[in-house]
Amino acid sequence: MNESLNQYLDGELEAEQLTPEAGAEAQAWEALFADARQAGAAGAPVGLESRIMDELRAERKTPVARIVDWWVSPRPVRVRPLIGLAAAAAIGALFFLPIGDGVVEAPVGAMTTMVGEQPVYVQFQLEAPDAATVAVGGDFSDWEARLELVDPDGDGTWSGRLLLPPGVHQYMFLVNGTDWIADPLAEQWVEDGFGNRNSVLAITGGAGAGSLAP
């Protein structure tokens, strides 16, 4: 927009001070303002107010919708820090404090805690050329087949790694999802009470093994 016209519209210049071109443009603006002032004085069309109120009534929400809206609409919430802290402490207490006998149950492989060493990856391997699937389960997994072994090259050698805590663990291989078999190469085993032998694995963390060889 022309600078002098700007100044005119701002009341800083009189019409006579404008150039003829700017003066013509100023007259056009004045005409537009006059029309606008006239339209504003005319008022709203007849019945507009009642139509708007009808629309608003039609949009009135059901109680359920209002409750949902309350929960999903963002809103600032003011909570006393003390109350918030107390609520968080209550939740934390329910989650972490023991139930019943007041003794914190040790997790499976609790010797980890006792030994105080890091868990280590243990590699499991089984020669099972006729197997469709091979998995490992043990006392570390509540005897659920947690680790599915793989045989990528199809040579019948299934293997996989599992992170285990230090301690003495019992395990077996689950072949084809139904047959529990002991590790044929295990150096230690224990009777499982069900007519089989659990293989035993003793690990004490990632430290290097020592030797007493002469």
Binding site: Q123, Q188, G206
Partner: protein
């Protein structure tokens, strides 16, 4: 309005906390759920009776539940399941009588197994008393030596000797690992054990890298090779 929001929030928090507590209680009560899913009511009742009686004698419930769950996972028939849990309960009672109520469950289980395998109760008691942290591993080392062919007295003496010399954890297990290596190299278990004890007593104890290389370890040990926990696991 703000007060109402605070009240609603507090009520919601309380409801969440109470429901979480209920879920935890349910989980605790459901520790035999996998057994119930696979066996008739009579079997489960028998198991619960056995477990309750053992609990009253100081046996940790979790050890018996674990055995029951193991049997269920292995689809043991009902009589065998009850018998296995009953036998295990009796063995654990013996361990509790030996080591006392409140003994850490995994240690108790290892003690019960060791006694079953012939380890002297006095040795179990002594190791548990003197080495309350490491005794399960020490008992495992004794069993390992027995399994390798070492006589009971010799195996117990070796581990007790090692423990008194400050061996613990992996070092104790090294006893059996070293003995196996010597046996593989042609020594008899008796000679190997004697050789190790002589070296221990002479203070000629070294901690070199693990005796068998990884390839050998896989072939001979059923392919369990502790690996430092740096790489990510491929299957978790």
């Amino acid at each position: 309005m703000k007060r109402r929001i605070s009240i609603v929030l507090l009520m919601a928090t309380a409801m969440f906390a109470v429901s979480s507590y209920g879920v935890r209680l349910d989980a605790q009560e459901d520790d035999l759920a996998r057994v119930r899913a696979g066996y008739d009511v009579e079997t489960v009742d028998s198991l619960e009776r056995v477990i309750a009686e053992a609990e009253s004698d100081g046996v940790p419930r979790e050890l018996l539940v674990e055995k029951a769950v193991e049997g269920a996972a292995k689809r043991a028939d009902a009589p065998m399941l009850v018998e296995a849990v009953t036998t295990w309960a009796d063995e654990l009672r013996g361990a509790v009588a030996l080591l006392g109520r409140g003994t850490q469950p995994q240690g108790l289980a290892k003690a019960a197994e060791s006694i079953r395998h012939g380890v002297d109760e006095e040795v179990v008691r002594r190791l548990a008393g003197d080495y309350p942290v490491d005794y399960p591993i020490m008992l495992q080392a004794i069993e390992d030596l027995l399994h390798t062919g070492v006589e009971l007295d010799e195996a117990q003496a070796m581990v007790v000797d090692a423990a008194e010399r400050g061996f613990k954890g992996q070092d104790v297990l090294t006893l059996s690992a070293t003995l196996r290596r010597l046996v593989r190299e042609g020594a008899s278990p008796v000679d190997a054990a004697a050789s190790i004890r002589v070296n221990m007593r002479a203070g000629r104890v070294t901690i070199p890298p693990p005796p068998p290389p990884p390839g050998d370890s896989r072939t001979r040990t059923g392919a369990r090779l502790p690996i430092p926990p740096s790489p990510p696991p491929p299957h978790r």
